[in-house]
Subunit: 329 residues, 2 copies
């Protein structure tokens, strides 16, 4: 069987996760990695993979079936995605929710010109969580949905703490509030805003002689980030910080709860939970599955931008539909 | 907006659930119900819906967009589905897993002749659980999957108990074994067969003067049904039976657990849980969502049989893709 030939643009945590992910799939092959950094400064997992400067990417138009764009949503992707869609089938994990429609339009225009496919905003949120929200709306039309995030690291909140004077290291975990989760599981469709749904747990290493009371107060009163939340601050040693808080876990739960039947008396609940020890590696795995699907859609003659809502689930795996029917239907 | 016009074949628990489900969706309309029974003996939820004999169905070829087949998998569907696929777009919930490939082939042949779409084996297992198994394989390729069923009524096991002498009423609930679920959640990928994953809880109303010890022994030693399981038998009064055990709850959990990254050290877990107070009503809701999708696929010019693996999730809801992109992506 001819393997599907993939490329990676951007070699940070997600890019490295994509390299691992491809190695877990026999039908996929990593052809090259493209970076804005100096290629000789990058150490890949598989030493035999060639790393190239971004400018060389157009030489690969005929040797890469889908390009996996691993840049950030703020600056990289708005530039990369419309550009590389003129050359390749692409997938990305663009996660700036409010800008998705305009981003989609730009990518769609490029992909239509090149007669290729680009699947935008894959990953798990947006991505799998979005899929499950739609599945919930479809199967429990009279109902509510709830998304809880965590337990997981929020980079934005961790950075906000690090900007406070006297803080040496800091990490913030977003954690679903157990009481709120329990309430949702009762199918009472409670009204719960984001701050009622989550706890913010902060681990802080203070500078020598720093004012701990000041730091804790500065965190807990920080508007938008912490003020409205059940915020818990723990001061720990540098040693504990480095040994216990170096992973990038994340996850969350998407609920749909509602009722069916005569006078809507029967409660129905759908729940989708992710618990991830490595957020970037799981995101990478989802992207790789959609990279496979993008190439399948391209082979069927489809062109333009797509979202996870457009992609049949069976195209995410290498197995033919007949085999899936026997094996897992 | 023109509503999608639906019909129901077979008016048992699921057929009635479909009638409720259609009433929860503004873009859908129930045109007629077809039955093998005498129409005048059937009392529908909405009294103004017309009920017809099965023979009249061909008069509706031009006035029903998708027919929802609510017959049983043993006798009804193998006959109904290939037949009605020659006239209508259809959905069904065929759940005889081992016979799905041959069933698919028959329906496919009919649907290709009529240039219509038939989506087979919708519902939640097969159906949503199958989708989630594939999503798990796609996103955690190095891993295991586990399906737990329940808490829910097993009709087959309930009937098996009722065949024992001295039993007046009986109902059997399949319940996930908490210890097994906890083990799976640890991502240790344990080996667990069906009997280790489930408890079988039986509520029995005995005839007056029946030998309770004999009944309990007969249940617990019944091969295939109960012998290998943690089986628990509770004798209750007829009054309690009728008041507490008249609903048809069900549900279950599909897990995918595995590892990613360097030397597969990072554990990743996906979990999809259903808790349903009415199994037939939820099954009906899923079928109705796929009935909508079947018509959309037909409008795109697709023909033949399909499974849930072929259907983009976005087609299950009435919202246009642009709206979904803004609202839930």
């Amino acid at each position: 069987m001819q393997k599907i030939r993939l490329g990676i643009v951007g070699y940070g945590n997600v890019g490295r996760g994509v390299e691992y992910a491809i190695s877990q799939n026999d039908d996929l092959e990593l052809v090259a990695i493209f970076t804005r950094r100096k290629p000789e400064e990058i150490s890949t997992v598989n030493k035999s993979i060639t790393i190239h400067k971004m400018e060389e990417i157009s030489n690969y138009i005929h040797s890469i079936d889908t390009m996996i764009l691993c840049g950030g949503s703020t600056r990289d992707l708005p530039e990369h995605a419309p550009h590389f869609a003129t050359m390749f089938n692409c997938v990305d994990s663009f996660d700036n929710h409010s800008r998705i429609p305009e981003y989609f339009a730009l990518v769609d225009e490029s992909a239509k010109k090149s007669k290729k496919i680009s699947i935008i905003s894959t990953g798990w949120d947006p991505g799998l969580f979005s899929l499950l929200r739609v599945l919930g709306m479809a199967c429990i039309p009279v109902g509510c949905d709830y998304t809880f995030w965590g337990t997981g690291v929020s980079q934005g909140h961790s950075e906000a703490i690090r900007r406070i004077g006297g803080v040496k290291y800091a990490i913030q975990y977003t954690i679903p509030n157990d009481n709120a989760v329990a309430e949702v599981r009762k199918c009472t469709n409670p009204t719960l805003n984001t701050s009622q749904r989550h706890i913010r747990k902060c681990f802080v290493v203070a500078e020598h002689n720093a004012d701990l009371i000041f730091i804790e107060h500065a965190i807990k009163t920080m508007p938008h980030y912490f003020f409205d939340y059940d915020t818990r601050v723990h001061f720990i040693s540098e040693k504990e910080f480095l040994s216990e808080h170096s992973k990038m876990p994340h996850g969350g739960i998407v609920f749909r709860t509602g009722t069916t039947g005569n006078e809507n008396t029967n409660k129905q609940r759908m729940e989708f939970l992710l618990q991830l020890e490595s957020n970037p590696e799981f995101t990478a795995n989802v992207m790789v599955a959609y990279a496979r699907a993008a190439y399948q859609l391209y082979l069927k003659g489809e062109i333009g931008a797509r979202t996870v809502f457009d992609v049949p689930i069976g195209l995410l795996v290498p197995n033919p539909m007949e085999e899936l029917m026997k094996m897992v239907l």
